[in-house]
Each structure stands twice: as C-alpha cells, then as structure tokens.
C-alpha cells in the first residue's frame, strides 16, 4: 500500500459531532437521528447496533451525504480526516464516495449490476477513480478477489452476478469496496441476507481485512453476537439516539443502560433454558418518531423509570467512571444508582410440560419435484425427466406438547417439508401420519375439516401473513366460523376477544386493519389465527426470523405459553440454531433434503456431532464473550439440488471428509443411545472424541472472571488516578515555579521602575 494513502494516525478518520438527521414526510419533519457523536480512529472497527427503525442506516447514509430526496442533515458536523464534509463541493463528495469511503449493503445481488460481468464492474472502479488502464485494473481486481478468498478469481471474473452464489456475491462486493483502498468502510448489515455458515466466512473475512488493510470500519448490525467478533467499540442506538457506547469489553461485561441490558436478556444464549431460565423480553415497543416520550425515550419500557429523574428533560450522555474504559458513555439519568447487572435478566422459571402420546409420525417421507430436461443430451440418453429431491427419506416422531426444531440453511428442504405436512404439496413416497391417519398423499382440498383444523401453521413474514384488506377480528373469526367451532356471531366475537387476550393484544385491535399494526403485533395475530381452530399440531415456519430481537423474544415466549396451555405439538422450523436450541425439546438437522442428525436438544448440542451440526454450531454468532467457541468455517457452496453428490450430501463441504466412501456411498444412520441418530460414515466412537464447539463457563467461573475483570479495572483506574494526581502535582509544582518566576519578574520590573523614577 503506498504511503500517501496510509491513514494519518493523528487525525481520526471520522469525527461526527452532534449530528442531527431528519426525514420530511406528510406528517412533517421527523427527526431520525439526534445528538449523534462518534469518533472513529484509523484502523478501528466501530459497531452500530440497534433494532430496526433506530436510525443506524440513516447515520450511514448521512456520512455518505446520501439522504435521498426527503431527508436532510439538520445540524452537527461530519469531519472526514479532519475536513468538514459540509464544506466540500458535490464533486469532492462524489470523489470521496467509493474512493475514500466505501459502503457495503445488505443485499449483494442488488449491489451488483446483473447485466455486467464481475470483471467489468470491478475494473470500472479503478479506471474511474484512479484512471489506470484496463489491463492493469484487471490485474488488481484479480488480486483483490484472491484477497477475499475467492477460489479461481480469473474464471469468476468472466461470470455474471447471477451465476455465483450469495456468499460469493458479497465477497465480490467487498472486493469492489476495497479496490480503491478506502480508509473508511461502512458495512450496513452485510451478512443479514446470508446463511449462517456463509455469514461466518464473511465475518471472518471482514475482521481479517480490516486488520490487513488498516481501513476503519463502521459495522452496522442488529446482531450483538456479530459485533463481538468484528468490532473494537460499539454504539447502541435506540430511537434515533446513542444510548450507550464503549469498548466491546465494557459493554458486554457491564452494560449500564437498561436497554442494552434488556437486549442481552432477549438473546437466547446457550445457557438460556425455556423452563429454568426463560428469555425476558423488553415490554412494549419502539416509540414512533413523532410519539417519542418526554425525557428518556426508553422510559415507557424501562423498569427503572422514575418520573422526576427520567421524564423531565433530555438525558445527556455521561461518562461511566466506574470502569477503566475512557470511552464508555451512557445516556441514562440513573446509571449510577441502578445496578442493572443484579436485576434479573431471565424471566420467571416454569415447570417443563409433560410429553404425551405420539401425534405425528413421519415415515420414509420423500418429496421429489419433476423437472423436464429438454436438452439434446437428455433426449439422447432417454432421461428427459430429472428430479429435484427436495425431501429424501424423512423420519421422525412428534409427541403431544413437544417442540421439534427443524434446522437447516436455505435450500435444505425444510419449507417443502412443511408444505407436504400442510397438504399444499403431496408426498412422493412414504407416510405422514397425523393421529394415526396417513395424510401425506392427501392434498389440502381433499382433507376433512378435522384434519385441517388439527394441523395449522404460523408463517414467516409478518407483512404477508395477514390479508391487508380485512380486519384482524374478521380474519381470526373466519377461522372459528370455517371450522365450525362456533356458529353464533356473538360467540365467535367472544372467542376472537379471548384469543386476542391470549396473544396479549388489546381487544380494540379486532377492528383494525393489518397495516395499523407493527410487525410483532401482526405475528401475534398470526399465532392467534393458527390457534383459533384448536389444532393439535402447529407448524411454525421461521416465525421470528423477520422480527427484531426484543420483539422476537416476546413472540417466542408467547408461542411457548400458548403451546403449553393447549398442549400443542409444535414444529419449529428455523435456520437460527440458538433459537431452536432454546425452544426445542428435540432437533432435526437437515441438509439438502436429508436428515443429518436428530435427537434431543442436549444430544444434538454435545458430541458426538454430525460434522455439519458441528459447523452450524460454530457458525452461530454468540453475544457472550465468556463463551469460548471453536471456529469451523465451511468452504464452498451448497451443491445444486438437481445434481446432489451420490454419497453423503455434505461431502463437498465436510471438513472431516474421509474420502471416496463419502462421495459414493450413502452414509449409514448410526444410532447413539435412545433416538439420537447421525447419518455419517465416521464411526460414532471417533465422533465422540470431538471436542465440544462451545465452552460455556459455569456460574462460578463466570463470577470469578467478572470479579477478576472488575479488580483489574479498579487497579487500572487507581493507577490512572495516581498518574493523574502525579501529573497534577507536577503541574502544581510547575505552576508554583511559574508563579515564583512571575513574582521575580514583577519584582525586577518594580525595581526597574523605581530605578527609572530615581
């Protein structure tokens, strides 16, 4: 890297002071970000974390001076390398973008131009910003692709964006951002659209690159676990304000703001347990920008709210003096009096629900989709039909009151499985028995009312799950009426009201249309609708993946409460291993349409692991610095479902692959103890030797480590104070000397004057 681009270490790369950003809408000016100050030094990674609508992306857009037509910078300054960006001309800002400040967005496919080859898009950056020749630019582009660990970059450069996988697309976007050697990289949720195993690779790459290139990072995410892996410092935002900022260490060890603290309580960490230590959701929801309360914006949701202190005026940022972190600041009027760490993070403990008889049995269920292959080669070989094996020999049982977690990355066939159960598709082979009746081959239209009502579904997308044209009450009532549970309109109304109570929504919501509800509220209505017909089994297809952490925790708890009350069997389909670990009694791990491992939650999360489970576990970001994690990053991409490996589906990416046997032979299903099954060629004994992926310290160790940290912090603080005192005394001495000198001078002057006079 040439010297002139090396960041000047004295001047911070980015210095934001009292930044205020607003949007202008029909309802008038809406302040989106207020009183935002941040300093990013050279080579530093700063995280910006918060739930959707808190203004984190707006900050990034503000830095790029790219606020759109209806947005604007209302106040404050943004200095880039010491220069105020407001004083730069549009042309200068344009040159800065892409060259000095680069941005990486969430959706890689949208960031790449689908009609240009990768090579053209990459070289364009260089020919535009640095004016070098195409040949040289292509060289540099290939080098950069190599640096982001893309195998065979030359070949990839000739492809179009749609021909490569999502993970590779995001790598290309990162390469493109780094090509002009920016000194500041803004990453706006760069891995949210990717699968966990792919995400793990990208996060590792980002951390590695920031170290190697010396670029500063501003990493925006809603995921605290990712912050831990990438950032040095983080800012927690809430409703347009930074509520707490500090080093990773101090925020994770001593969160001072009740909101930060609450966020940690919402994350299903490995030691959370749905019965003994349930999640504690933050009550209420984010205030709308024009309905922010007076005083502390978090007030209405805070357990420590005191009207006189918190509800009167704007709360300023204050320095936290109790730890050895000079940058730890918090926007809380009571941070010094309230000890959030002793407050219960976990909700109330519950009795585990007893498990009843078998409700759902899936036996060798297969679902193939036919794909017509009309190519010439296919006609010659006589194989004009090809099959997408979406589900291959699925086997498991679910009992009453039990929660089965079905985990896998996108394309593993978990949604197809849900469709077959619901009758939206019919099984190609095998049986699905619900209450001992085979329903696998019965399409939804031919199912009896009883079969329909006993199997209901909670959907993924809160904005899509309710019909926007009908009222909430109408939609829930329709289910009750349709299944003939009640006939009389008054009784239907009564039941709708009861269901709204159950999902903890105000009764008045019955008259509202879905667009008047927030995402979490819509999902609650979706749950009420699913339970309206008294189902014996409910399938929840990623019900919380589109929700914010605090809302997701509340919806998760709600789902479990209702399940417990109705003794429902719950099939919880998710890609999020931590959520599944928290919720499920038993887990089914799927890959490419096949079950890789199944067993109770404890069995699946401890060795022996299937190598795929092991990799999945390692890929999940965990927001707890105490937990040690073994890193396994999977190479390569999911193979095409049209052309899966002949042997084990995972053999192309498996870090423990044995050799030919994995590629050519179906792995045997090995049974370890009661009901724990692993489909792998590696002998169980060998898999048992594998070290656990996560090392969770027990309570005692945790306490000891925290105390150690506290002691260290105190010592450092004392040292700092001593140094300060020493410095102060030195200064006092200097001042005294100066004063003495001044006295002398005065005396001299006096003497001189006197002499003159005489």
């Amino acid at each position: 890297m040439p010297d002139d681009i090396r960041p000047d270490t004295d001047v911070p790369v980015l210095e934001i002071e009292d930044l205020r950003l607003s949007y202008y809408t029909r309802a008038g000016e809406i302040p989106a970000v207020m009183d935002f100050s941040l300093k990013v030094n050279a080579g530093e990674s700063v995280g910006l974390v918060g739930e959707s609508g808190c203004g984190k992306s707006t900050v990034a857009n503000g830095i790029m001076r790219y606020m759109g037509k209806n947005g604007g910078i209302v106040g404050g300054t943004i200095k880039f390398k010491g220069r105020d960006m407001a004083e730069m001309s549009d042309e200068e800002v344009r040159r800065l973008r892409g060259a000095e400040i680069a941005m990486i967005y969430q959706e890689p496919m949208a960031a790449l131009n689908p009609s240009m080859t990768i090579a053209d898009q990459l070289t364009e950056v260089l020919t535009e910003h640095e004016g070098i020749g195409r040949q040289e630019a292509a060289e540099r582009a290939a080098e950069m692709l190599d640096a982001v660990h893309i195998p065979d970059p030359r070949r990839l450069m000739d492809s179009y964006p749609h021909q490569i996988s999502g993970g590779q697309q995001q790598r290309v976007v990162i390469a493109m951002a780094l090509l002009s050697r920016p000194s500041l990289l803004l990453l706006d949720e760069p891995t949210t659209a990717l699968d966990v195993t792919v995400e793990a690779g990208i996060v590792e790459l980002i951390a590695e690159l920031s170290e190697k290139t010396g670029a500063s990072l501003l990493y925006i995410s809603h995921n605290l676990g990712l912050m831990l892996e990438v950032c040095d410092r983080i800012c927690v935002m809430y409703s347009g304000e930074v509520v707490e900022q500090g080093s990773i260490d101090s925020i994770f060890s001593w969160p001072k703001h009740p909101y930060t603290h609450g966020l940690f309580g919402c994350i299903p960490l490995p030691h959370a347990d749905k019965n003994a230590r349930p999640l504690a959701a933050i009550r209420g929801q984010l205030p709308l920008p024009h309905q922010r309360p007076k005083g502390c914006y978090f007030g209405p949701r805070c357990d420590f709210f005191v009207q006189e202190k918190c509800g009167q005026q704007q709360i300023p940022m204050e320095e936290v003096t109790t730890d050895n972190d000079p940058v730890h600041r918090v926007r809380c009027a009571r941070w010094n009096e309230v000890d959030t760490s002793t407050a219960m993070i976990a909700g109330e403990a519950r009795e585990p629900a007893p498990v009843g008889e078998v409700v759902l049995e899936v036996d060798n269920m297969k679902k193939y989709y036919e794909v017509k292959d009309s190519s010439f080669g296919a006609m010659l070989s006589g194989q004009s039909m090809r099959y997408v094996k979406a589900n291959e020999t699925i086997n498991f049982r679910a009992r009453r009151s039990e929660t089965i977690g079905i985990v896998g990355e996108s394309g593993c066939g978990k949604s197809t499985f849900a469709k077959v159960l619901m009758g939206l598709e019919t099984a190609t082979d095998g049986e699905v028995r619900l209450n001992h009746v085979n329903i696998g081959a019965i399409p939804v239209r031919s199912r009896t009312a009883d079969q329909l009502s006993s199997l209901q579904m909670v959907f993924q997308n809160p904005n899509d799950t309710l019909n926007p044209s009908h009222t909430i009450g109408g939609q829930i009532g329709r289910v009750i009426k349709h299944f003939g549970i009640e006939k009389d309109p008054a009784k239907i109304h009564e039941r709708v009201m009861n269901l709204l109570d159950t999902v903890k929504l105000p009764r008045a919501f019955a008259e509202r249309k879905p667009r008047q509800l927030s995402g979490g509220q819509k999902q609650r209505v979706g749950i009420a609708r699913a339970f309206a017909g008294n189902p014996s089994t409910v399938i929840a297809d990623e019900p919380i993946s589109a929700l914010d952490v605090s809302v997701a925790a509340a919806v998760t708890e709600l789902l479990m409460d209702i399940q417990r009350e109705h003794e429902t069997t719950l099939l919880f389909i998710s890609h999020d291993l931590s959520a599944v670990r928290y919720l499920a009694d038993r887990i089914v791990v799927m890959y490419l349409g096949q079950i890789m491992e199944r067993g109770t939650t404890d069995e699946v999360f401890a060795p022996p692991y299937h190598p795929y489970t092991e990799a999945l576990l390692s890929a999940v970001p965990i927001a707890d610095p105490e937990i040690e994690k073994r890193r396994i990053v999977l190479e390569g991409n999911l193979p095409s479902v049209l052309d899966p490996p002949a042997g084990c589906p995972f053999c192309t990416r498996c870090p423990r692959v044995l050799g030919d046997i994995c590629e050519n032979e179906r792995p045997p299903v090995q049974i370890d103890g009661e009901g724990h099954a692993i489909a792998c060629h590696i002998p169980l004994d060998e898999l048992r030797q594998v070290e656990p992926v996560l090392k969770v310290p027990n309570e005692l160790e945790k306490k000891r480590s925290l105390m150690l940290k506290q002691a260290r912090a105190k010592k450092a603080a004392a040292e700092a104070a001593a140094a300060e005192a020493a410095a102060a005394s030195a200064r006092a001495r200097a001042a005294a000397a100066e004063a003495a000198l001044a006295d002398e001078l005065v005396a001299d002057a006096d003497a001189a004057i006197k002499q003159d006079q005489t």
Binding site: Y23, T25, R26, A27, I30, A32, G53, L288, P289, H290, Q291, M422, G423, L424, V444, R445, R447, A449, L452, S453, L455, Q456, M457, F459, Q460, N461, D464, T465, L466, N467, P468, S469, H470, Q475, V479, H482, F483, A508, E511, R512, R515, Q516, L517, S518, G526, R529, G533
Partner: protein, 296 residues
Amino acid sequence: MAEQTETLDMPVRENSLQRWLKAIALLRESPVGMVGGGIVVFFILISIFAPLISPYDPNANLVPFVTPFSTVDDKFFLFGTDQLGRDILSRLIWGGQRVLFYATAATLSAYAVGIVMGLAAGYSKGWVDEAISFVANVILSFPVMVLYVLIIATLGASGLNIIFAVVFASSPGIMRIVRGLTLDISTREYIAAAQTRGESAWFIMMVEILPNARGPLIVDFCLRMGYTTITIGALGFLGLGLPPPDPDWGGMITEARAFVMGGFPHMAIIPACAVSLLVLGFNLLADGLREVSLKD
C-alpha cells in the same frame, strides 16, 4: 417507518363514508387528479340533473341553424341549434347522460367478465390459464376498431350491442391485468393460510385475492372509462352508435359534418370538445389516483 406513522391515533372504526372522504382527501394531494376528478364529477352531475338543467327538449325542432350565443324568438341558444333546429346544449346534456351511462355499464360489464377470467386463469394456472390466455390473445390480436365494427354491423346498432362489443373487446385486456395481480397475490402467505384451512377456490379468489388487487384496478378502470367514451363516440361517428333520434355525441358530430364547411362549425366542434373533455377528465383522474397510490 413512515408507513406506520399514523397508526395509533387513527379512529378505530371507519364507516364507508369516512373512508370515501379520506380517499378524496388523499386525492387532494394531486392537483392533476383534482382537475380530472372535477371534470368527471361535473359531467356526472350534469347527467343526473339533465331534466332540470336542459333548457329545451333535445329532440324538439325549434329554429334551425342558429349560431351560438344568440336569441331567436325570445329563445336563448347558448350553443346554437343544428340543421333540424334542435338545441345543441340540450342535446349535449342528454347525450352526455347516455354516453356516461353506456360507458359505465359497458366498462363495468367488461370488468365483471375480465375479473372472473383473470382470477380463474391466475389462480388455477395449468390448462385453465392456458386456454383463457389463448382466447384472450386471439381477441387482442385483432384491431379493436375492426372488432367493434364487425360486431355492431352484425348484431345491429343498439345500446346493448355496444355494451356487448365493449365487453368482448376489452375484457381480455382486463383479464391480463387481473391475472398478473392474481399470480403475484397468490404467493402471499395469507393465501397459503386460507388454503390450509380448506377454503374454497371461489372464496379465496373473491375474498382473499380480489380486494387486494383493487388499487391498480381502480386506476385502470378510470383509464378504460376514457377509452370507452372515445369508442362510443367513434361508433356514433361511424353511424354504428346509439340509435337516433336520441342525442349521442358521436352521432352529433357525424350529422354536423356536412355543415362544418358551410359556416356552422360549432355543430361539430362543441360535441367533439365534450368528448375530449370527458376523456381528458378520466385520464387525469387516473393519473392522479396513480400518483397518490404511489406515495408512501
């Protein structure tokens, strides 16, 4: 974010009158839409109150060849009279009523057919979709005017046949729009939810899908009202319109054709302006509705 801004202080229950008032209030944000809406409402009011407004019987032979703004025999003729001495203003007013009635009836009928076809094609897919789409494509491949002339010439000129012709020629276009919307809406999760509780296809199409397709359909309806107005005018001009002697804008232009060069251009220009103004009104209204619906 902006989408949710007004959620919490909204009145909980809205009756249909409030909803309409709110829709009109929304339209106020588009000046173009307001102008268009004003023109359309103006014509509608005139049609409704035709018996009160119209100064003379539209078919009465008074004084022939009177130029506009003149008084003859104590009778004031704002737009003059035609070759048979009929008051052009009165004929315009009554003709407007007929044009609006038949345009509305024809467009609504075309919509009824097009919506059913489109829902069936888009929801059931498979051979139903292929059959319906094929028929629609065949009809759409004919020049529209040729179709109209063929149909009316075969069946004879009458109000009912005009409606039939319009349904035949424009329902395939409507079907295509509805089919596209249906294909999109049927992938939504609330449709899957309705399917998994065993709702009938008819219920899903009419109750779950159709109400969510209304936005684009309302805009298209306004545009199509404009086209149908032109069509009725054109058919009248070709002598295939509503049967005489009752007034019809297109027919008025045709009858006046011979006298335009003879010093009485007003006899053709005034009804022509009426057609243009009404069509313009529908188009502007459609533009305005689209503009408002695209705003957040």
